[in-house]
Symmetry: C2
Subunit: 427 residues, 2 copies
C-alpha cells in the first residue's frame, strides 16, 4: 500500500512526478552516462521527504541499516545488484568479512546484518561477521526474533606484521563495513592495504560531513533540473553550515541564528512563489552523522538563542558521546505522507547504481515537521509493495509504481552526490 498523501496542494508534485514519468528514457540515459564517469558506492540508503510540493533527500547513509525492512520479494533484486557490485570491486573474492555496528542489543539492527549476510552469501561469498566490540572475545551466537541466529566473531590482524584483517581461521579478500565510524577509525582497521575495504574509510562519519553531501547534491540537482527543465528547488533542500559551535558554552549561537534566519527567508520566498501556505522551518543537526540524535526543528531564529539546558545537552552530543561542534542548518521538508494517521517518510535502498527497494518509516509520535528516526523511539517499517524500477505511464502520476519511481530517481541523485563526495574525499 502507498500511504495516503494528505497534502492539500498536490499540484507541483504531481507535475514533478509526471515530468519524471515523461522523461524516464532521458533520465535513465543521463544516469547511465553519468555512471560511466563515476563509481557508485557499494550500497546506500536515502531518507526522502515528500512535501506534496517538494520531494527531496534529507539524509544519505553509506552504511545502511534496515535491509531487513525491505519487501522479501525484492531479495532477488538485491542479490543480482550485489553480484554486479562484487563483480566490479573484487570479482575474485571468496571470503567476505562484514563488520557491523556495535549494537548487539538492537534486534532490528541485527536482523539487518543477517539480511545483508544472506544477500552477500547468495552472490557466492563465504560471509562471516567480525565484531569490533572488545567484549566479543570469542564467537558469540545471538538469537534473532525471527528465529535466525547470528554469530559475531572477534576481528584480529592476520599475516606477516598483521597486515591483514580477518577472524581466527578466516582470511577475507574483502571487508564490508556496515559501521559508520562515527567514533573515528579504530586502530584495528588502520593500514589495511592488501584487502578491499568497502566502502573506503573516508566514507565514515569521522570524515564525512552532511554539508559536503548536500553541497555535492546541489550540483547534481542543478544538472538534473536543467535536463528536465524544472526548478532545482523542487528536489533540493537548501542548507547553511556553522562550525565552532559549543552548545554547552553557548558559543556560535550567533552564527546559528543568522543561518536560520537566512534560510527561513529563502524558504519563505519560495513558498510565496509557489503559493504554499505551510509554515517554513529548518532542521538543525550535527554536520557529522547524527544517527537520529542531536536534531532540532526550528521555526524561528530566536529559538536557537533561547535553548534551555536540556535542549542544549540534547544537541551537544551524538552517537558514542561525540561532541557536536559543527552543525548543518537544512531546509525543513514537511512530510505529507501518513499511514494510519502517523507520519511517514520513504527510505530508498540502493546497491551499486541500482534501486533495490524501499520502505516507509512510520512514526506515531512525531509531527510532520520532525525527524522520524529518533533514538529510543520505535518506528514501524512498511515495505514498499512494488519496486521503484517500473513506472507505468498508463497509471496516474501518484500511482504506487510511479510515485516509487520518482522516489528511486531522487534517491539516485543523492547516490550520485555520495559518489562525488567519495571521489573528492579520496586520500
Amino acid at each position: 500500500m502507498v500511504p495516503h498523501l494528505t497534502t492539500a496542494l498536490t499540484g507541483p508534485l504531481l507535475d514533478l512526478e509526471k515530468r519524471f514519468l515523461d522523461s524516464e528514457t532521458a533520465i535513465e540515459q543521463w544516469l547511465r552516462g553519468w555512471w560511466l564517469e563515476h563509481t557508485p558506492p557499494f550500497y546506500a540508503s536515502v531518507d526522502l521527504r515528500n512535501a506534496g510540493f517538494k520531494l527531496a533527500p534529507v539524509d544519505t547513509n553509506l552504511f545502511p541499516g534496515g535491509f531487513n525492512n525491505l519487501n522479501p520479494a525484492f531479495l532477488p533484486l538485491c542479490v543480482q545488484a550485489a553480484m554486479s557490485a562484487i563483480e566490479k570491486i573484487c570479482p575474485e573474492a571468496k571470503n567476505l568479512l562484514l563488520i557491523p555496528e556495535n549494537h548487539t542489543r538492537n534486534q532490528f539492527y541485527l536482523q539487518n546484518v543477517a539480511r545483508l549476510a544472506t544477500i552477500l552469501h547468495h552472490t557466492g561469498l563465504n560471509v562471516r561477521i567480525g565484531s569490533l566490540l572488545p567484549d566479543i572475545t570469542q564467537p558469540t551466537t545471538l538469537d534473532l526474533p525471527d528465529g535466525q541466529k547470528l554469530t559475531l566473531e572477534p576481528v584480529k590482524r592476520l599475516g606477516t606484521d598483521g597486515r591483514r584483517l580477518g577472524l581466527a581461521g578466516f582470511d577475507p579478500c574483502a571487508i564490508l563495513l556496515n559501521n559508520d565510524l562515527s567514533g573515528g577509525v579504530p586502530p584495528i582497521l588502520e593500514n589495511i592495504n592488501e584487502q578491499f575495504l568497502i566502502p573506503p574509510l573516508h566514507a565514515g562519519w569521522h570524515v564525512r560531513r552532511k554539508s559536503g553531501h548536500f553541497g555535492a547534491y546541489q550540483e547534481v540537482a542543478n544538472a538534473f533540473a536543467a535536463l528536465l527543465d524544472i526548478d532545482p528547488w523542487l528536489i533540493n533542500p537548501e542548507f547553511g553550515v556553522c562550525g565552532k559551535i559549543n552548545f554547552h558554552e553557548r558559543t556560535g549561537e550567533e552564527c546559528l541564528a543568522a543561518n536560520v534566519d537566512t534560510l527561513l527567508f529563502r524558504i519563505r520566498a519560495k513558498y510565496k512563489e509557489y503559493g504554499i501556505s505551510e509554515k517554513p522551518f529548518v532542521i538543525v543537526k550535527a554536520d557529522a552523522g547524527t544517527y537520529g540524535m542531536g536534531i532540532m526543528t526550528v521555526h524561528d531564529a530566536s529559538e536557537v538563542k533561547s535553548l534551555n539546558r536540556k535542549q542544549r545537552n540534547k544537541m551537544a552530543v551524538v552517537k558514542e558521546g561525540l561532541q557536536v561542534t559543527e552543525v548543518i542548518i537544512q531546509e525543513g521538508v514537511p512530510t505529507f505522507e501518513t499511514v494510519d494517521d502517523s507520519n511517514a517518510e520513504p527510505v530508498i535502498y540502493m546497491i551499486d547504481r541500482y534501486v533495490v527497494g524501499g520502505f516507509y518509516r512510520v512514526n506515531t509520535a512525531r509531527g510532520r515537521d520532525e525527524n522520524l528516526n529518533a533514538p529510543g523511539m520505535e518506528f514501524k517499517p512498511l515495505a514498499f509493495e512494488t519496486g521503484c524500477l517500473l513506472p507505468d505511464a498508463g497509471q496516474a502520476p501518484d500511482a504506487p509504481p510511479n510515485r516509487f519511481y520518482a522516489y528511486g530517481v531522487v534517491a539516485r541523485l543523492a547516490l550520485q552526490a555520495a559518489a562525488l563526495e567519495l571521489e573528492r574525499g579520496a586520500p
Copy 2:
C-alpha cells in the same frame, strides 16, 4: 506452484539438487570467475528436462521468445539485468532497434516482442521495432490480446552509402536481434559495422549448430562436474551427429541408424549403472535450429530406416522451408514433471549472466519422451512463482526455491556453452 514430480526414482536427482544447494557458494564463485574470462550472450533461454534421475538442457535459444510467459513479478529483475548488459555492450546507446521474427500473426510471439521492448525501454532506451517483412512498407500497428499495441516499421539503410540500419527518422546505436536468422542473413543486415549488432550475426541458425553447442556444453559440464565431484552424465545429454542426410532421397540413413544404435547403447549402460528402469530413447533433430519442427523420438535404430513418406517429409524441412541435411542425435531425457497430468518442461531465461525467471511449458497432447514445443500445438505456459536466485537451505532439496535454483544453475552452464560457441565462432 511447482509441478508435481511423478518419478518413482527421485533418489539421484534429489542428491544432485542437494549437492547444488550445499555447493552454492562454490558454484557462484566458479561462475563469477568464469565470466571474468568470457562474455555472456546478451540474452538466452534454455529448455531443460528433469528426468528425476538426470537434469539437462536440451536446447539453448540465443534469440529467446516467451519473455511474456515470465512472472510479471520478475520484470524488475529483467530490467536490472538488461541495464547491466546494456552498460557493458553499448553504455552510450540511446536508440535501440529491435528486430523480431517475421511472425506477424503469432499473438504469443508478438507479446514477447512487446515485453522485450518494455524491458529495454525501462533501461533508458528509445526502442522501436523494425520488421524485415517485405509487406511491412509503412508503420503498422498491431493489436495484442492483452490490449497492448505494437508498431512494426520497415527497416531501411541509412547514412552515407547506406552504412547504417534504422527506420525512417530513427538512427539506432544498437540493434537487438530477436530473429534467429534460420533463413540466412538478409542482405539488409549485411555489412553493419558502425552499430552494435546484438547478438552478433554468427549467433544465427544459419551458422550455429546444436552439435557445436552441446560439444561446448560437454566441456562446461565436465568442468562443473569436477568442481562438484559428480558424474557429468547427470547434467549432460550425450549426442552424435550425421551430416549429408537427405530424408527425401533416403541417403545418410546408415549414419543415422549407427548413431542411434551407439547412443542407445551408451544410455542403456548408464541406466543400468543407476538402476533406471526407463526405456532409453534418442531425439533426432535438425542440427541447425528447428523451431520445434523436424524433431523425432526414436527408441530403436530400425525406426529411422523405416520412415514412411509422411515422416520423411516432416523431418526434411524446418522453419522457412529449409532443407535438413545435418542432424543431431541427442540422448532423450524424459520429463518427469507434470502439471494437471500434462507433461511439462522448465524453460529458463537469462539476460547477461543473470537468471531472470522461468516458466513451465505444459503440453496436454505430448508424451514425456516427446518434444513439447511442437508447431501448431499450443503449450500452456506456467510462470515460476519464485525466482531461481534464492535457494533456501532450510527447505527440502526439491522445494520450489531449491529446484528452481538447480534449474538456474544448469541453465547457466548452457549459457557458458553458448558463450564459448560465440567466442569460437567469431569471424
